[in-house]
Symmetry: D2
Subunit: 366 residues, 4 copies
């Protein structure tokens, strides 16, 4: 008998009996049913389903990156999985429009019955944050009450284990650190980059000073801009400065990983670096969309609750708004942009290195 | 003891044990797990959850419209419920982007295990179509096989009952037919409208004929346009023509309901007609979004399957594309636009009627 | 001759000669063309076109609200114009996705040629902010340089005039203050509302204290929540507290206008209040979408520039992020939610008042 | 003097004097201004600006593909340009929501003044269609009138030239035909693929026949499905059948190009094929989004005009709906899905070929 061919019905495959029988309105038990409580339940269930899918995809990417060397074709797989996560995140943001069809007054019809349930008790969302690399010490506390009771012991244990292991951030950092092209025979990427930056800054400075057709105020502005940029360049020129910033907590990504990310961004057109570049972009997309979601979520809470305190005891809007910026994980990748220089100043790669970064097949053609 | 205050946890409230334990990948049982089957299951579960919410909202609107007279404030409620449905529908369309992250090749990893499950077996979607007013005889058959086996006996019975009762279309038609202002003392809306249309057409015709600075070709074009428009006006001027078209199946909305919808569209600025106008707009929104979803869904199927036949035995793309146009329910409301005339030709309402359509409070002001 | 019928061609009507001949790439003149500069120019031109439309719609709403009494049917018009603005704003947010297809490295190909042009020089955007009601003293300065030179003298004069006149915020405030139902014969809305709030709080307090099945920690949480809410209620119970807060700058909307907005939110189901309620909702939508746009814009800048300073000399990301929260205009309308109470505690309106809020026609029916 | 540093103001850079002075409402000249005409003009101008950007990006991709061999890194560039086009197209679809805020009645306030201007006179849109590869003989005529007068002689000449040259479709076809791996030493892709398909079909057939636990009806369904699929396979097995279909017009892509596209889809995980695969996906995205836009546009026209004839003399909705399906260019790429087989049946590539498709660098690692 060929097991593959056993029949299945849509309802059974999707286990709709469970899925569609999981909406129990509290307002029905206590009082008269509040029409909008159905929406409230369903929208949260939809969020949890999407979180499950995100964890499924993110988990698979982490697995691919857990190995000593990441196979080239796996970077392609990782890109498409992260792309899927981004597409889901977009929907997570957009569907806040649906929640906002519930007016504040309609919410009050059943809000009291929900105490002290709260989105902060979402285990999957916490799992996601920890998997990405949000550390406990960086997390902003949302209530004066201690955490106990938020998650079950079993869940808390899983989170503790997760935090001990490598997060997505850690895996990316390690992968970047392994990039072999920072030093290729006589070519020292950082040295060459330093020279280019110096040249660029010199040229700009001279140009500003000799230009007599722009106002003094504007000259000052341009010189300021250069000054601020220089301080960012310094932390790349000097590993000690970078490490100091890591201690202070303003940087999180290691020196070597940062250099590699810079190299990938600058030479993204070389065939071998194309996919790594896209991969880094997708990480930034994911981070950005999570921030967008947090901002949008905070707004929705402000609209629905005003200054009312959250059901879980958080300060509501103010708390959520703060996390948008502080709970970001891949901030350092956004910051790479500070270090980019125009293509016209880009140090040329040695011919042998360029060849290494190309396909075998290309050799035949030339 | 105050029952209201009994505590509840997020997980329990959302019944996450059921929700998050309802993803059983068939590919796990048969072969090695296909990573993308998780997405396939979850996206369909999300659809079913949203269908449940849509049915919940639509059902509540149908209830409000089932009574002999619809209370004015209920129209406001209906508008906001339909607005919610539209917002959900937008997400239903947009999340097709998520499904399309699954490439055709990835789908083949588990497609065979799903036979003969198919979206056509979605009971809730069928419920939605029947509730809106899609009649069995208008439905396009998607397979040569008979329907038996698609739904359980119990489900089929519910659908049969639904089809016997008043659909949303029927309720809207009856509500429109009850509009009391078509004939108000000496004011006969249809007669006045006829006169205005006559005036308008005459004026246009004369203008075209006497204009010697436009080309003959363009004159012809304009006269053609007028001719085609006239035939549409005729079915409103003559009830018999309208009824004939209903028999032929090109019109579905009764003569009286059509006239009322026209009146509401033309005099939407009168306070009493503002909400009914918005309500009609929301119905058109809903219909349009369902069509958009069908079109988008058909495209996605084409992309994923090409010309392969659907798991449920449908011809796939071609079938789905056809339903987009044919399974539309409120087509006649779209068509009201054909009958609109510019405001400058609008018959003036008698003072007494205008007053009836205003608020009590407004009288105090004047 | 009938002037109406003079022919026109698509190109001429849309003045495409101007529109499509307004993309002059600076990089062409200076160096080799940077492919992405075209996108950069076009996306900004599209923004300016949409700003023009927003100003057109907003201006028309302000005109309708400038008169002594706002005609009821004009509220309907205002709602649809604000709805249009929201729809445009959604696109303004979404099209940031397009800008982000320009990578930071591609931007560097022409960024230097743009100095010191900057989005801060957009006259229309400034006009929009001032029209909405953002006051100069509330505006956050984006650069150490003085403002001179940002706008031409003529433009600056227009902005000064605008700021002197009534902003949208002012007009809404005045309109709310004119609401005649706060005191209707023996019915004093604030007094009745106070009683209801007292009753509600009492009942909640008792319930919490007598409940022995919830933990002490949770009791404390609930009592805290009540405490914080009470302080918000106080500013409504006591006009002096409200005025004090206005002086401190934490509130901007006058006492009377706030009370009216509260009344409209609580009794939105009465026919006469339906449209005013929707109007207030649309204002909140607009405010929220502007905040969303600012957040999203800040993110995009972070991604493209990192910590680089903006072409106009602003600190870039940090500055933009701050304005998202501080440049909000209708914050007080969001805050109405704090003051809402469940429908079950809502004071009943006297029969005569309910009648005033209904349609003339409804009387015939009963 | 360093020309690069010459100052520029935002207004001047964007040529806002032209852009914001190009909205001349016809209704102002003829009658009283129609408020919504501003929206009508602006939305069309925005479309034209985006069309310009799309043509700019598409043109650059066509240039990259016009050379005898396409450099590998150029495929990456092409992908990001097509990705940008897709993002713009999404906005083109979404902003129809803005147009629909103009009600049919509001449109009538100025519609007559527009005759015979029409979207069909958009030169850029025609340019886009022709550039993609829509041939004159495939275009569906939208009016009985001849085309003369739609475009100026100069424009018509440009279109004629465009049509003579290679379209995007032609360039993609040629590029696919140049794929060198269809025959690699002893490995003949089509032969190997044939064997796999045979094996797969055999196995499925046996399984169906021997399965006695599925109903006869379902067996029939499955056998039907296999039958239909077989006919599609045949045109790949036999070049003559493919060529016959091309003559009949049901296929457009040459046999060799089709085979190459199939190979790329099946072996997309090989490093060298990754980017080509993504490139093909982006083409399908673009095609799909154009279809979505056409469908959505048709709907909007139905809603606004009902059965009224278009200003340019087209039948409006019916015409537009038809083009959605018929004016598609890359239909054959969608159809590749029909020919895909599960990975488990995929013929293994010879080791030497796999190596050719990998990076030089990878050799060092192993």
């Amino acid at each position: 008998m060929d097991k593959e061919l056993s029949s299945i019905h849509y309802d059974e495959y999707l286990q709709l009996k469970k899925i569609l029988d999981a909406q129990h309105l509290r307002s029905v038990g206590f009082n008269k049913p509040a029409h909008d409580e159905m929406l409230f339940i369903i929208v949260h269930q939809v969020y949890e389903l999407w979180f499950k899918e995100i964890l499924h995809d993110l988990g698979s990417v982490m697995e691919l990156f857990s190995e000593g060397t990441v196979i080239e074709s796996h970077i392609g797989v990782a890109i498409s999985r992260l792309d899927r996560i981004s597409k889901i995140q977009k929907i997570l943001v957009d569907q806040i429009d649906i929640i906002e069809t519930m007016t504040p007054l309609d919410f009050l019809d059943f809000r009291n019955y929900l105490l002290p349930a709260s989105g902060f008790q979402s285990f999957q969302f916490r799992q996601l944050e920890v998997s990405l690399g949000l550390k406990r010490e960086r997390r902003i506390s949302y209530t004066q009450c201690s955490y106990s009771g938020v998650f079950s012991d079993k869940e808390q244990k899983i989170l503790d284990e997760l935090e001990k292991g490598d997060s997505m951030f850690d895996l990316v950092e390690k992968w970047l650190e392994r990039t072999p092209f920072l030093q290729f025979e006589a070519f020292d990427f950082v040295e060459e980059y330093k020279k280019s930056v110096g040249l660029m800054l010199n040229r700009e400075e001279q140009a500003i000073e000799s230009a007599d057709y722009i106002s003094t105020q504007e000259k000052q502005l341009r010189i300021n801009m250069m000054g601020e940029t220089k301080t960012y360049f310094n932390s790349i020129f000097d590993e000690a400065i970078h490490d100091q910033k890591m201690k202070e907590g303003t940087l999180k990504l290691s020196y070597k990983a940062t250099i590699s990310a810079l190299l990938i961004n600058l030479y993204r057109d070389e065939p071998l670096l194309r996919q790594p570049f896209m991969f880094l972009q997708k990480l930034v997309d994911m981070d950005e969309l999570l921030t967008t979601w947090r901002n949008r979520h905070a707004q929705m809470v402000l609209r629905t609750l005003g200054q009312k305190i959250g059901t879980g005891g958080s300060s509501g809007y103010d708390y959520l708004k703060t996390t948008a910026d502080k709970h970001r994980v891949f901030y350092d990748l956004h910051n790479i942009s500070t270090l980019l220089i125009p293509r016209s100043f880009l140090p040329e790669l040695p011919k042998e290195l360029k060849e290494k970064l190309d396909f075998n097949f290309s050799k035949d053609k030339s």
